[in-house]
Structures are given as C-alpha cells and as structure tokens.
Subunit: 340 residues, 4 copies
Amino acid sequence: MIIALKSGVNQEDLKILVADLEKLGVKVDYSQGANQTVLGLVGDTTVINDEALRANHLVEKVIRVQEPYKRANRAFHPLDTVLEFESGGKTAKIGSGYFTVIAGPCSVESREQVVCIAKEVKNAGAAFLRGGAFKPRTSPYSFQGMGGAGIDLMLEAKKECGLPIVTELMEISQLELFENVDMIQVGARNMQNFNLLKELGHSRKPVLLKRGMASTMTELLMAAEYVMAGGNDKVVLCERGIRGFDSFSRNILDLAIVPALKKKTHLPVIVDPSHATGLSWMVPAMSKAALAAGADGIIVEVHNDPEHALCDGEQSLTPELFKNMMETLRKYAAIENRII
Amino acid sequence: MIIALKSGVNQEDLKILVADLEKLGVKVDYSQGANQTVLGLVGDTTVINDEALRANHLVEKVIRVQEPYKRANRAFHPLDTVLEFESGGKTAKIGSGYFTVIAGPCSVESREQVVCIAKEVKNAGAAFLRGGAFKPRTSPYSFQGMGGAGIDLMLEAKKECGLPIVTELMEISQLELFENVDMIQVGARNMQNFNLLKELGHSRKPVLLKRGMASTMTELLMAAEYVMAGGNDKVVLCERGIRGFDSFSRNILDLAIVPALKKKTHLPVIVDPSHATGLSWMVPAMSKAALAAGADGIIVEVHNDPEHALCDGEQSLTPELFKNMMETLRKYAAIENRII
Amino acid sequence: MIIALKSGVNQEDLKILVADLEKLGVKVDYSQGANQTVLGLVGDTTVINDEALRANHLVEKVIRVQEPYKRANRAFHPLDTVLEFESGGKTAKIGSGYFTVIAGPCSVESREQVVCIAKEVKNAGAAFLRGGAFKPRTSPYSFQGMGGAGIDLMLEAKKECGLPIVTELMEISQLELFENVDMIQVGARNMQNFNLLKELGHSRKPVLLKRGMASTMTELLMAAEYVMAGGNDKVVLCERGIRGFDSFSRNILDLAIVPALKKKTHLPVIVDPSHATGLSWMVPAMSKAALAAGADGIIVEVHNDPEHALCDGEQSLTPELFKNMMETLRKYAAIENRII
Amino acid sequence: MIIALKSGVNQEDLKILVADLEKLGVKVDYSQGANQTVLGLVGDTTVINDEALRANHLVEKVIRVQEPYKRANRAFHPLDTVLEFESGGKTAKIGSGYFTVIAGPCSVESREQVVCIAKEVKNAGAAFLRGGAFKPRTSPYSFQGMGGAGIDLMLEAKKECGLPIVTELMEISQLELFENVDMIQVGARNMQNFNLLKELGHSRKPVLLKRGMASTMTELLMAAEYVMAGGNDKVVLCERGIRGFDSFSRNILDLAIVPALKKKTHLPVIVDPSHATGLSWMVPAMSKAALAAGADGIIVEVHNDPEHALCDGEQSLTPELFKNMMETLRKYAAIENRII
C-alpha cells in the first residue's frame, strides 16, 4: 500500500500517523523525495482501514498495490483449484482442464419435469443437474418455488440420473434441507449477504457464487473470501451478466472477467449465459464464447416446455437445442484441451 | 397489459393462449385490427408471468401498462403515508409536509462516542439518531460492527437524547435484538434479500428500505411490496446512490428518482447523501438538493472524530458542519412549507 | 505522478527509464524504501504518456496525483470565471454570484413560434434565449432542424426580445453562420469531437460544452482544455444527464458533478434538466435541485405547444409552468445570494 | 407502432390525432376493446415523431413494434452483405463465411515501424492493415497522430505488403486525403457525428463504424442508417467495448451484441478486443470469444515495440503473440466454417 502525503505535512502529526499504522502490524517504509513524501506499507495491509486513511488530513492519495483478498488470491495459491464431486459412481470435476456443463430447469415444477430434463441433459453430456427450489423473484406475487419439496424432487432426479445437483439457498435456516445437495448456489442478489456467506464458510459444501449485478471483480473475490475465511475453500465463481443501459439482452455478459479472474485467483470460474442474456437463441453463441474466453464451465437452463415454464421460459433451451450445442462445445473443448 | 401478436397467428393456438390467460382471472380484450392483432388484459395482471408469455410463439411484444405493485401504488392509495414515532415525549414524523433529518455515526464504536454524537445531532435539529451495530463490509477482515452490544449502546443513547433510533438489520435471526429499535434499516445489498423482506412484513416495525446499487425504481417498489404484502405498510424508501462509471464520487446520487417515486407511490422517500457521495464536503450541497427535489428527509453521517472513525470517516460530517448545514436546510424547508 | 516499480527491477533498465522520463522535462524523485521503489515525477506531467509507462516491464502501477488539465484547473486559476454578454442594452452574466436561466424551444420551427417563446421567457426572467437550428437526431428520417434559416430566426428573436442567444453548432463549416450568435453550444454527442473543439479554440465566442452521455468529469474538463488550449478561455460546462440502466427518466441527472466541478475548475457550471429527465413535470424539481447543488444556472426547454413540437415535446415546459418555476427559483437564489 | 390511449379519451380530440397521423402517410388501425383503446399504425412509421406523440394528452404509451431503421434492417434485406476489397492482386472479404482479421499499430509513427508491422501481420494471416494517422486523444497535450503524412506512410505500407488499409477519419475536410484508403474508420466518439456520417453516405468508400461507448444497438444501427440513407450501403459495424463501473478492463466488451446484430441486420459485424480491454494479454482470449460469438472478424493492435508505442502500448500485441493467436483462430474458424 502506498500513501502519498500532502506537501508540507507537520512532522509531529506524521509521527502519530506512522505509529498508528505500525500498531496494526505493518512496516512503514518512509520515502522522502525532494518534492513528495511517500509511505510504503509492507506486510498484511488487509487490516488497514482505507477510509479512515483517506479522511486523514495529511493524506493526498491512498493506493493499494496488494489485493485485499488472501485465500482467493492466486499470488498465495498459484495452483488452480479443481473441485471433485462423487455421484452415481462417477466423479465430476470443476476447474482447470475441464469444461463442466451444468444444466437443468430454472425451477423445479414437478417430478416428471425434473426427472425428464435430468435424463435429457445427462444424455447430452451435462456433468451436473441444476434446478431451483427456492426462487428469488422480483415480485412477491410470482411463483416462489416449491421450497423443500423442490429439493426432494431434485434429490429424486439425482437418484434417477446419477448427476450431482446444484440448487440455490436463499436463507441460512434452509441449510439443513441442503444436506444431500452437492453444491449450494448463492444467487447474484445475495452475493453480498455477508451473514449467509459467513455461515457457508462453516459448511464443507462447495459453493457456487454468482457475481452481483453491479459488483466489481474485487467485490466478487471478497465475497468468496468471506466463505473461505471461514475455512471453506470450495468456491466456484460465476459470471451471470451485469446491469447495462441497453435492452437487446437482459444483462451484459461481461466475458472479459473470465481471463481477469483466472489471473487473480485459483478458483474455478464458470459462466451463466441463460440469465445473462435472457434469450435462449443467444445461449449457444455465448456458451461457445465462454469456453473460448477460458471459462471452466457453464450453467444453462434447459426446459422441456419453455412456453409453459413457471419462470424464465424465454431463456430456456429445449433438450434438442441443448444437445446440438453440446456437440459444438465438444469441438471447441478439443481445441483447448478441455475435458467436457 | 397489452400483448401484440405476431402476424398470421393460428386461431386454434390463440384460443388456447386466451383460455390460459382467462384461467388466471383476467379478462382478455380481443382487438383485431386490419394488420395487427392486439390482446388487452384487464384485471389483476400482477399474476401474469411475463416471461412465459414472451416465450410463447404467438407473441411479438408484451407491454405492461399497469404497474406490477399494488400496496405501494399511489393509484390505489392516493394519500401520502406519514409515519409517526413516539420517543422522549415527542412525536417524530416522516412523510409529506415534513423534512426529517436522521443523523449519527456510521458505526457505533463506544458509549461515549454515540452519546456525544446523539446529543450534538439532537441539538442541531435531527429528528432521529442513526448508528450501525451490524455492518455490511466488503472485506471479512474489516470491522464488522459491535453487534448486539452496539444495539444496547444505541438504546442508551436514545434514553439520553430522547431521539427515536434507526439501525441496520442484516439477518432474520437478529430480529429479536431490535425490539426497542424504532425503525429497522435494510441496506442496499439486502434490498432483494426476499426472505428478510418477507419476515419484516410480519413485523410491525417501520422499515427503512435502501435502494440497491443497480436496482430500478420498479424493483425498489417491488421490494417494498414484499414487506407490505406481509401486512406491514410502514416502509420508508431511500435513494443512496447507484453504481456509475466515474470516480469523482463513490456512487451516483440519482435525485430524479425522488419526484418519480413521489408520483408512483404514497410512501415517504428520503435520501442518503453520505453513502451516495462518500465525501463529506459534498454532503451539504446534496442534502439541499435532496430537499429541493422533493425528498421527505435525509439520513446523514456525523462523527465527532472522522479521522479515527472505524468506518466511512471520509464521508462523515463533524457536528459543527452538520449544525451549519441544518441552518441552511431550515431556510430551504421554509420555502417548501416543510416542517424540519 | 507516482510510479510504483515491480520488485527486483534491473538497475540498468531503471536508468534508461529514468533518463527517458527526464528527457520529457520532468524531474524524477527516486525513493528507495526497503521493499518498494517508488519514482515521484515532478514538473509538467501532462506530457507523460501513461499508456506507454503502463506497458513498461518495470512498472507495477502509475498514479497521477496532478490533474491532466491546466487551463481549466482551479489550482492554477483560483478565481471563478464569470462570463459577460452584452445584448439589448443589458449585460447577462454566467458564473459565480449569478444563477443564469437559459430558456427556449428545443428547435426553431417558425418566426412566430420563436419570437413568441422568446418574449415569454424573457418576461418570466430568463437571461438567455436558446433554440436549435441544427439538430442532432438519432434518426436520419427525423426533422433535422431549419439550419441557417433557423439561425436567422433566432437572430430576429434576439432583436425582438433583447436576450443574447445560444444555439448548437454541429460542424466546423457552419461556423460562419454563428457570427452574431452569443454563445455556441457543443452537444453531448460532440463533446469529444476534438477537431470541432480545436476550431472553437481559435474562435473568441463563448462555448457551452455539454457533458457526453458516458463521459467522466476528467474527460469533460479535458474537452474544455481542448478549447482553452487554443486560446479561448470562455467555456461554460453543462451537466445534461448520463446513460443509466433505468427508464423512469431518459438519463440520470448526475448533480453531484456540480460541487465536484466547482472544486476542480474555475469555469461556470450549468445544468440541463430538460434533456436529463426528458419529462417536463420533473424539470421544476430538478432545476431547484441544480441551484441547491451549486450550479451557476440552468438551460431548459420551453414550448408554447409541446404536443406539436417538432422535437422533444415531452420534455418542454409551457410558458406558464416556466413562469411559476422562475418564481420559486428566485426564492432559492435569495438564500444562496445568487442574482437571477 | 402501437399507441395505447388513456381511458376516457375525448372522441373529437381522438379524431384530430388520427387525422394528424394519417397525414403522415400511415394507416391507423383503430381497436376498441372494452377497457382499452389501442391504435395500430401501419406503414412507414419511421416518419412518426415518438416524442410529440408521448407529449399528447390522449396517449398512455407508445410502443414501436417495427424497427426505426430500414436499409440496415435484415427484415428488408435478408441476405448477408459481404464486402469485397481488391488489393495487391487479391480480394479480401468481410461478411458471412469469412473471419477477417484487421491488424496493425494504434498509430503510424514512422515508415520503418508501419512497414515492418505490415509485413509481420500479413505473414501471420491478417487480411487488412490498420493504423491511425489522425488520433482522437482525450488530452490536447497527447500525440495527435502524424496526420496526412501518416496516411502517406499507410499507403506506402500497403504498396509493400499488398494488404488493403483501414484508417480513421476525424473530420469531413480530411476526406480528400482518404482517396486511396480502402476502408474509412469512424471512431466510437464520432458514432453520432451526424454530419460526418451524412458526408460518408455520399462517398462510395466502405465505412467501419465503431459503436459509441454508451450507444444502444438501435443507435448504432441508426448511425449506419445515416450513412446508408445517403446511398452508401458498405458499412461494417464494430463492437469495441462500452463504459462500465469496474476497472479490471478498460471497457466492457459486450459480445452478446454480435448475435443480436446478426439477427437484426445484414451488415458485417466485427469486434475490437484491443480497445475494449486495453490489455494485450486479454486480446487472444477475447478474439477467440468474438469468433465463437459469431463475429465476422476482429480488429487488433500489433506493435513491434509496445513499451515505446506513442499510444496504447499497453493493449498492443507483439508480432509473435499475434502469430500465435492467428494459429488458434484458424482452428476455431475451421469449426465454424469460416475462411480466415
């Protein structure tokens, strides 16, 4: 961390500032140029309160050189994290060397629906089944998901098709229902629900953490850090579109965050083209682009009857379109030496 | 709701669509022009699933004329809601005719700090004391607030100064600690924490609901609707800045939402210039602008020692600057016939 | 400018970098801390190419402490610029101590229209007449303005009402038509039309420079600097709304840029609430807010028949509503000691 | 176009409105439902002034079903436009079936530099040479390009390497210098410089039109329409990143606009990953993603000495990295049956 001081600072005040900083355990490197005094802070600067520093009357600018995250930081963990999931006698993996496809309906609606879709996506090559039981809906008058009964149906579908399952948790009290769920999804709207993140840090379940609609890359990594600080290192990051000013797609799929994240963190990074675009006919193109950009996988919506889906029908692929897309993705994966 | 159909729709398919819509309790008004067929839906269209409609192969466009919120909607409740709070033998009000100033530290840090600031802001004319006990912080390594002990200190400060208090709730399980808190704040990051909103709908406490950083006006009103749908009509809306592309202020204070909200809803609307700008020297100008734009109040941060504040020092006014600002605000309030 | 170097830099390479920088006329202040080497550049760093520096393999971070603008910079010109315009035997002023109202139709449509509106806005207290002759329209099929004939009608209206006039220039070749125009407007879409700005730098006409829809404050000031670098110091800056993600108003009126600009530059700053909101019923609230935020004036659209305006009818005030607004603005101006 | 009327409209006023609309040459389809009256406008609604309609006191909502562009509209020109360029005895093409790579330095700096890079990119498989002679720079104190001398050097490089060239035009008066340039670039900042677009409509030169930093897809297509309305149908659209709130890349590369544009228009669509990300190490990943998303080509910056580039060094690939990237792109192109 570099602190540029204002010109003509009072030396007594400066001593107090330096002493305050040293009390926090960092070493203060004092560099007096002819015209500018600069403090260089060495050590664990994640404990420094930038805001108070900026309010200090001696300070001109505060610049973080070091990233504020530790456990998620590739600098301290150079090797890629690869998560493994045992289910149906097989091992599904997410991370470097793989391109993992997670597919299924937006919402669980019935046993028939979820089992049927589960078999279809498995046959087409998906590695995970997704499906929502607790649904975050903008309107209190919209279908809110089947709740616990939906989780049960997901588990039945898992039994039938053998795929590990991922489904969204909206509140800490639901956690016990997720005992047999393979990966817990935290939705974009909960990315900074810090109490929920802390609680998941005490769990040993992998967490699929979606980027908030107006979250920076650093904020996403700090959200992962909340989970990891609790001892749970199994976090998968997911770009799912950010808010933009145009309406040709629901959100803006910010694919450049994929290489940016891969540089900064060892955690796996996947992409959700269904929620990002909101339009099923865009999903194959953006899924291929996600692979090309370096993503470790995608999470997509597949529905056997999109016109009657209880939510997000407009963005769901039919099983047939999903199958076609998978065939193309396999060709792309071959170029990049990814196992699909 | 208006549904523009594609040209050349199959009449049998159309009958099925119309029947499906009528099952939901709306009346379907069929308007066949020479070149365009348009369905007009009359009744409670909040139950309609726009997404499934858009996925329907007959449909060209879906346009909502009616707003999707009911209880928050001024159309159904033309009179302004004015909330009343009894404390210290006085009544504080928020809503039409008043300009209510809520002031206090970002975080509760100690008894001395919060009582001292409470007295200062009361003397300067604040109607409410604010102060955070549970703090949503981007980093898990930052000060997370004093928690329950912070709530106790806020209650002591309330006893000393007589002002009603508002403080932030981050999780449902904290609710019992808020029994004597006068108004519960829901932060921007929790605006779409729907489980939390539903729970507050069962409470009888007034809720101060902050707009999310990338939330539309309609989403904010739908979040209020979540609380109100549970039976709790006491919601105060708060504009606190949205995410933008520039860095001269922390967020963009979107003041035009004030008149827009006043037109659409009967709920009180206040503004938080401290979090929106992140810079204390901008707070007086933006507080005056909030009043001028028609806000029913402001919530601002005041700290007796901003340089040593445990959070957000850069955006906190000193008590003296707060007092000066209140004097100007009183002149502005006089022009607009607002009681301050 | 501060340059933080990577750790373990090669001393020979560093010498070359320092020599390259010194060739540009800046003094390089070398600060070797125990763990971090920092170069401080002193002198006129506006000549430094940040991009090449960032591409240098020795460099970790580049931080500008000094602003990249000079003539627009309050640091070098502490006193507020106040522009004076002689017209109709009177002097109109824009700048500190004044709140200048510029009003008129979006487009000049006919002699009757512009003269009628000119008289109305003058009687209500406007200091300038605005009106578009060359209109930047999104569609090539929309009304493109009356062109030169529109300028002539503006000049006639000026003769009739005595107010100085401001109208938009879209292309350098139009410049000769603007000989008797008092202030030349550069629209938001041309804010970074650098050739146009350079040309206006050779003119002696005051320039009303509107902020681009996605321009930062620094980019706006650099656009002003383009004009000023040519020798023309008469620039008025105008906030007119930036692009946002919501649709309740056309753009986001970013009022916090007003105090931010007043701190950074000596140039006058005005606000255009008509284009920012696109809705006439919001204009009075946002005009008052602009004054409260510290703006030196506003530019608003007034039309005698908004329903038949050839452009932007939805955002134009009627003369009667304009008159009412002016009455309230006078009360606000009195509090702030502004001459209206 | 659909106009939803307010309830209880006056029939006389309605007759006037309908007559006004019919005067513009559209047929008005009157659909009276039980509760809502809807007007359907048939014919060339590009002549309708939406803004005046919205200001009309009878009107509740105005919805465009038809797109406001005609010549750029795929609905009227179903077949893809493929542009052909003769140079050096070969034909370069841009459009369906091809993946055209345009490469070269940000700025032309010297004969040696541009000829050297031209040969390198040609050998690696580029189809076009790019290079800036007139440079739009944020600062008036930055290098503004070599101007006409730069165009001459581009023409020399063309002679040496045989590739057709593309370079940016900033002002109408420069047009005569572009006589031997193969394609004229209009930069993002000039996307709505309507006078420039109109002038290029009278030219017969192909135009590479870059999306503005905050422009919607419709605005981009309307800008193309300005050129095409003048009779010049040779327009190539280019996504080059939009403004966002994060800083991990310079702009947000909005790749979903590629399939969206391909659906709406017959014009070729290319992507500029260099300006979008501002970081050379991201360019290969985002170039592959552009191809995967369906783009007809890319335009990338290549510099033989990025650390000493006079502009944008941080985003320029070295010739070697460019060559490696081309090899991978050929594999991707093979999957998609694109000729590279």
